[in-house]
Symmetry: none
Subunit: 198 residues, 2 copies
DNA sequence: TACGAATGTACGCTATCACGTACGCGCCCC
DNA sequence: GGGGCGCGTACGTGATAGCGTACATTCGTA
């Protein structure tokens, strides 16, 4: 999931106006009251409330202070925290053959890690030796075996993993998992992106 | 017309400059790169970073967006919330108070995500309302319910989660999980760090 | 009805925010 | 050494944020 696009809509954030108005009303303050408390002039407050102007951080902070809030608190009210729930089995499903996986993390801006649940039929493998996963440099992967047994091959190395085992490795190396057993294997994988952006 | 107390110091908030600089460095972006990503001119970015000017909310939001952060997250860094310190002693509480957890990822350099498996006894909760987890700004958490039912409380919101459900949210908001059921609940949590401070 | 006191808003003026351009600097490579 | 190319920063200019003042309106009260 290499997110690169601009993340959110910065314009909508300007809409603290209604919020300020609501808070001021809730505190039973007039424009002049809040002006005195915040050190921002009443006309300015009026313009901000109506969205006719975008205050500077300094002024916005003083307004927030006058409302006994931190600026981040005032702003979060208009941003709405990101909470995304993916119900059981409702992730994005991929895969063919004996390898199926489900992406459990949403494609949000700023998302730096991806959680996937892989199911490997007996004898199946992820990617395969000919088509090794190529992750970006600096990426790191953590894999947790939920059920069955697996073999992780990184470069020339070979690691046997059993249910409950957890392995962490640099994901920019060619690697893949194999299911050598006779039962289905389930793997949870966390892929963390590197910091660098180009 | 009721409350009276002057709350805080709004002046210090203006100092997002160093923060922006650190975040930009961590993402390995030049002023012009960030200018393109954010839609704010490079000279303006330079002035903001050096604290020579107080940007407009609109501009500040665009800067935050260019850094893949919400403005409130960017601001929280310079507010009293500098207490980004993780809850004291929670790492030791293995098996205490009905909440046990195990860190599955190693403390490697360059590790930017942490995988933990939590076990919550009936009625238990992670952290608790008085001692909410405070992760670093920009951090994001993905939690997967392995067994039982859980309730995620984040700010004022409440989300019911059942086995197999997966939820992703901004981890720098105060949050905690509760086990309202009569059975033990198991939770896998992936905590992805935000951009590094240098 | 008239009046004082409160409200929120329209008007100018000044400070400064925010832009495009241009400069000095360090680096790599013909 | 002289180009190029990237970086961050100093200019000058237009836009606008933010102030003080003055105005229209609605109340409660005489």
């Amino acid at each position: 999931m290499s997110v690169a696009a601009p993340p959110q809509d910065p314009v909508a954030i300007t809409s603290i106006g209604p919020r300020v108005r609501a808070l001021r009303d809730a505190m039973d303050l007039s424009l002049r009251d809040l002006a005195e408390r915040s050190g921002v002039s009443a006309p300015m407050l009026s313009q901000v409330e109506r969205g006719e102007t975008s205050p500077t951080l300094a002024v916005a902070a003083r307004i927030a202070a006058g409302l006994e809030l931190r600026l981040s608190q005032l702003l979060r009210l208009d941003e709405g925290g990101t909470v995304t729930v993916v119900r059981a089995g409702e992730g994005r499903r991929h895969g063919a053959g004996g390898h199926a996986y489900e992406i459990l993390t949403p494609p949000l801006p700023g998302q730096r890690s991806e959680l996937t649940r892989h199911t490997l039929a007996p004898g199946a493998s992820t990617g395969g030796p000919d088509d090794p996963p190529r992750h970006e440099p600096g990426a790191r992967e953590t894999a947790l075996v939920e059920a069955g047994t697996l073999v992780l091959r990184i470069d020339a190395e070979r690691h046997e993993l059993y249910a409950g085992d957890c392995v962490t490795f640099d994901a920019d190396l060619p690697h893949h998992f194999e299911n050598p057993g006779k039962e289905e294997a389930v793997l949870l994988a966390v892929l963390s992106a590197g910091l660098r952006r180009s």
